[in-house]
Symmetry: C2
Subunit: 211 residues, 2 copies
């Protein structure tokens, strides 16, 4: 009798060095909830930079892609459509380390064609707190705010079994191409660069550079 | 006998609302030394964003301009020369506030023509710790690092009375045009925009917008 594949235990151990370093940094800084807050820069349609704080929501499956969530109506969705390039600056206060992660963004909206990514969006929604979910029922971000009497708390969006996720909810996927690591404690700086394979895979080089 | 002008006490009280808010935020978060760390995004010459952590070094004189310092050999100096636009994302962990500060950068290098700015650069150098100053004597940032045996600590740069500041030391001045404020605790978001006056001055408008 052939042995059955053990799907649940077969999650590939990734060999990406900088990703393992980030996992260690998250562990070292876990007493600080905001060590999962990163700053993500994009380029506006007028060629000027934009920069804002977002929450790291984990790596996508067993890849080295980073995930975040956003409101589909926010300006970064439009910006990423016109220019997908981004750079995350991620500072870990306790271990005094910085990662600069340069790559391209994909926005996974409602009705995304790729079924696996559509499912990842639903999972990200399920991982949100009620408070976090409620924000997607708020009026459009960035528009002038209604008068004070209208500032009552908003209800959770009315969701159906067919569409269990707010239409305003997008998953953001960052596909890294270059990572610049700096340790202020150790005065160490390393640059990791991806050499693309033909099939979306790739290998990472590592170079120590002057801080 | 005429009373002498009291220069030290004459610092103009600024009426810029968001600047007073930042001062309050700095006060509320002062137990965290890294609440002075901000992320500054610029645009690379290839049109992609760059983003890194820098230390806020105070406002310039009695203006609302923010100052930082950098190594003249770093890539952000080149980037700012080609495209001066930047956006700072500044998150205060204890008070759970974010400021996004959009504006343009000036780099004040050695032999800057404006005498007042040249003096501000010397003051910024004097405010650095010895450890901070030593970094400007290090080999060029971002180049491959010498072999381990050459990683001895570097000496302070040899400075003369005529040139008391390392040639690699630049003052960075951010002239803000737009500030986006977000309070996660209060679910409050405000946008401040500068209306330029003819003579480099200007006034600030304030709008409450949806978070």
């Amino acid at each position: 009798m052939a042995s059955a594949p053990v799907a649940a235990a077969s999650t590939a151990e990734t060999a990406v060095v900088w990703q393992q370093m980030i996992r260690t940094s998250l562990q070292k800084n876990k007493r600080l909830p905001y060590s999962k807050y990163v700053q993500i820069a994009t380029v506006r349609e007028n060629g000027r930079p934009a920069n804002r704080t977002v929450v790291f929501r984990g790596f996508l499956w067993d890849t080295e892609k980073l995930t975040f969530v956003t409101d589909t109506r926010s300006s970064k969705v439009q910006e990423a459509a016109a220019n997908p390039w981004c750079e995350v600056s991620w500072y870990f206060p306790d271990s005094r380390e910085q990662y600069r992660i340069h790559g391209s963004l994909s926005i996974i909206q409602q009705n995304h064609a790729n079924e696996k990514l559509a499912k990842a969006r639903v999972s990200a929604w399920k991982n949100m707190s009620d408070g976090g979910r409620t924000q997607f029922a708020w009026p459009q971000p960035g528009l002038p705010r209604p008068e004070p009497e209208d500032k009552s708390p908003y209800d959770l969006p009315a969701l159906t079994a067919e569409d269990p996720v707010s239409a305003n909810f997008s998953l953001v996927v960052l596909d890294p191409l270059e990572v610049d690591y700096l340790s202020l404690k150790g005065n160490i700086r390393k640059q990791f660069q991806k050499q693309e394979g033909g099939d979306g895979t790739g290998s990472w080089s590592e170079t120590e550079i002057n801080p």
